[in-house]
């Protein structure tokens, strides 16, 4: 097996001896050894990898492969006979309007999450990073929502949005802003955004920490130089701070997109995809198809779609980051 450099997949620093590993012979059962490898080392490596590899093979790799298999078969549920149906499930999925709706909602969901959670994380990081005495206090306080399980966040915000007793509508009414009260979760035009606010409230804290770490990495002498040149605070932000954050920003955006793609718990708890599928995401629709309608074939097609989206986002951002770090 000749090793090819795979562009775009360098999430982490490349392996130490990449060129030495290239051009080696195949791995055979029992760890038979190619000339360049110490047989003792190979044996030890296999033993050290074994626990992780066994678990990972059974509970991750096998299911990944089986998902493809499921997508070509029809099955009426768990533990029932299935039969090969070719591309029928793919055709049925493409013809299902709720699939397209949930795909559209997922894309909106990603954008909302990046803007709300990423934006708030950046804004707070910029505000906090200059503080000396109170920085730790504010950082700790702003991070608190991130510690709460998204399912619990769903319960919390379902109550906040409760039309009669919820914090939002009652607070607005008491402040004389009764005109702004809404059916936050019952209005089809509003529901996806409302639920996303709950998820983003939970999510922004981590992005804020990452931005703070990014700000600390900016060379301080750049600010001194800008000050000598008489730059205003705004100019320092635009010409020093934001360019210095470019790498961490791409990282946060990719992380927020992947987190958004995995979004499930808040929607499941708060609306279960409703009303009228107006907050259905790909993940919640997978759950509905797989565990409620028992339609595994179509659920598997959606699983593959979800994986492809995740892979696409990862590849695009790795390319982008590789270009930035050059």
């Amino acid at each position: 097996m000749i090793n090819r450099e795979t562009p775009g997949s360098s999430t982490v620093a490349p392996l130490g001896n990449r060129s030495a590993i290239a051009k080696t012979a195949t791995v055979e059962a029992g760890g038979s050894v190619a000339r360049r490898f110490d047989s003792h080392d190979t044996g030890s490596a296999l033993w050290l990898m074994a626990p992780a590899l066994v678990l990972y093979a059974i509970f991750s790799l096998l299911p990944i492969a089986a998902t493809f298999w499921l997508s070509f078969n029809s099955s009426a549920g768990f533990n029932t006979a299935s039969s090969f149906v070719g591309l029928d499930n793919y055709a049925a999925t493409a013809a299902d309007p709720i699939v397209w709706q949930s795909l559209w909602h997922t894309l909106l969901w990603l954008i909302y999450h990046v803007v709300l959670a990423g934006g708030l994380g950046l804004a707070l990081a910029l505000a906090i990073s200059r503080l000396k005495v109170t920085q730790v206090f504010f950082r700790t306080a702003f991070f608190l929502p991130h510690l709460v399980s998204l399912a619990v966040v769903g319960v919390i915000w379902a109550n906040i949005y409760d039309p009669f007793y919820g914090l939002l509508n009652t607070a607005l009414t008491e402040l004389g802003l009764g005109a702004f009260t809404q059916g936050w979760l019952s209005d089809p035009a509003l529901v996806l955004f409302s639920v996303n606010v709950a998820s983003s409230w939970q999510g922004f804290g981590l992005y804020m920490l990452l931005f703070i770490a990014g700000l600390q990495n900016i060379d301080h002498s750049l600010y001194d130089a800008a000050e000598v040149d008489g730059a205003s605070a705004w100019q320092k932000l635009v010409y020093v701070t934001l360019p210095g954050l470019r790498e961490v920003t791409t990282f946060v955006v990719s992380l927020a997109m992947i987190n958004g793609l995995k979004g499930f718990a808040t929607v499941f708890v708060m609306t279960n995809g409703g009303p009228f599928y107006q907050s259905e995401l790909i993940t919640t629709y997978i759950y509905r198809l797989a565990f409620q309608s028992q339609d595994h074939g179509r659920a598997a097609v959606l699983c593959i779609l979800l994986s492809l989206l995740a892979i696409a986002i990862t590849l695009v951002f790795n390319r982008w980051r590789a270009r930035l770090s050059k």
């Binding site: 997949s9 999430t11 982490v12 620093a13 130490g16 001896n17 590993i21 080696t24 050894v33 080392d41 190979t42 030890s44 490596a45 050290l48 990898m49 626990p51 992780a52 678990l55 990972y56 059974i58 509970f59 991750s60 096998l62 299911p63 990944i64 089986a66 998902t67 499921l70 768990f78 533990n79 707070l124 200059r130 005495v133 730790v136 504010f138 306080a141 702003f142 991070f143 608190l144 510690l147 709460v148 399980s149 998204l150 619990v152 319960v155 919390i156 109550n159 007793y165 914090l167 607070a171 995995k262 499930f264 993940t283 997978i286 797989a290 699983c303 593959i304 979800l306 994986s307 995740a310």
Partner: protein, 275 residues
């Protein structure tokens, strides 16, 4: 720097933002101490006449929170322990031992890092069912460890790579095996990486909802987030119980975090960047 004089104006400006962001917690805690009638008045600024600590007793008993917390703790201990036991050796092998297929394995784990667990959930359920692990804590532990393995391995690997080879060569000359190098030389200096891995896997296990929802069916084996969601939908009309149950679910972690916030912050930041 000359920015010191900006401290208090900025802090003052941030205070209302903080109140707004933390308002959900404050509102829940205050409301959880109200009577059902007081909640019915729908005035979020009103203080309860008497602090109804009874709400907590009732919620704790009716919701079976003792059992839920116990299950969550067992779940967390199992995942953290197994994650360390699997990821530290594998990360070491990938970082410091040359063996055939290393590159190939590396990309296999990248695949797992990218694909969300929701995308493999149907066969995952079937595998657990086949192994008689559905509705058991062992089942949820194994599934969660496996889905966390790629991240854990990358985290440990990227830390071990930064350790100079000379350290390992020296131990080898002294006749140490790879296992000894890992346990006697590397792990003692790996506190930052281990701390990050423990905090991240503990927090994500404690808060996980999707896998428990699939795997843990009966109430006796359920974990805290899943149990709370079930409780909140069963007693949806009794706000005082839902509110106090919710506070029970988030308060312990928040207190723990405030006590150890520096470690949490370091661990989460390092983990997110390195993994």
């Amino acid at each position: 720097m000359s920015t010191r004089h900006r401290e208090w104006p900025v802090a003052l400006g941030l205070a209302p933002v903080m109140l707004l962001i933390l308002a959900p917690f404050a509102w829940l805690i205050v409301s959880s101490l109200k009577t059902e009638a007081e909640i019915g008045q729908a005035d979020p600024y009103a203080w309860p006449a008497d602090l109804m600590w009874r709400n907590y007793q009732d919620a704790w008993q009716i919701g079976g929170f003792g059992e839920l917390v116990g299950n969550s703790l067992l779940n967390l201990a199992g995942v953290v322990l197994l994650t360390l036991l699997t990821c530290a050796p594998a990360g070491y092998a990938l970082a410091k031992i040359r063996f055939p297929g290393r590159e190939w394995l590396f990309y296999t784990f990248i695949l797992g890092l990218t694909i969300p667990v929701q995308a493999i959930v149907i066969p995952l359920y079937q595998v657990l069912f086949g192994l008689n692990l559905v509705n058991t804590l062992s089942g949820i532990v194994l599934a969660q460890v496996s889905s966390g393995i790629p991240f854990g391995i990358f985290l440990m690997r990227s830390f071990f790579i930064s350790v100079p080879d000379e350290l390992i060569e020296a131990a080898k000359i002294d006749g140490a095996s790879h296992l000894q190098i890992l346990t006697k030389v590397l792990l003692p200096i790996s506190t930052p990486a281990i701390q990050a891995l423990v905090i991240i896997s503990a927090l994500s296990t404690w808060n996980d909802f999707f896998l428990p929802l699939i795997v843990l069916i009966s109430p006796e084996v359920q974990t805290l987030p899943l149990g709370l969601v079930r409780f909140a939908s069963t007693y949806a009309s009794e706000y005082r119980l839902v509110f106090s149950g919710t506070v029970i679910s988030f308060l312990p972690v928040i207190i723990l975090y405030i006590l150890m916030q520096r470690r949490f912050t370091e661990g989460l930041t390092q983990g997110a960047i390195k993994g």
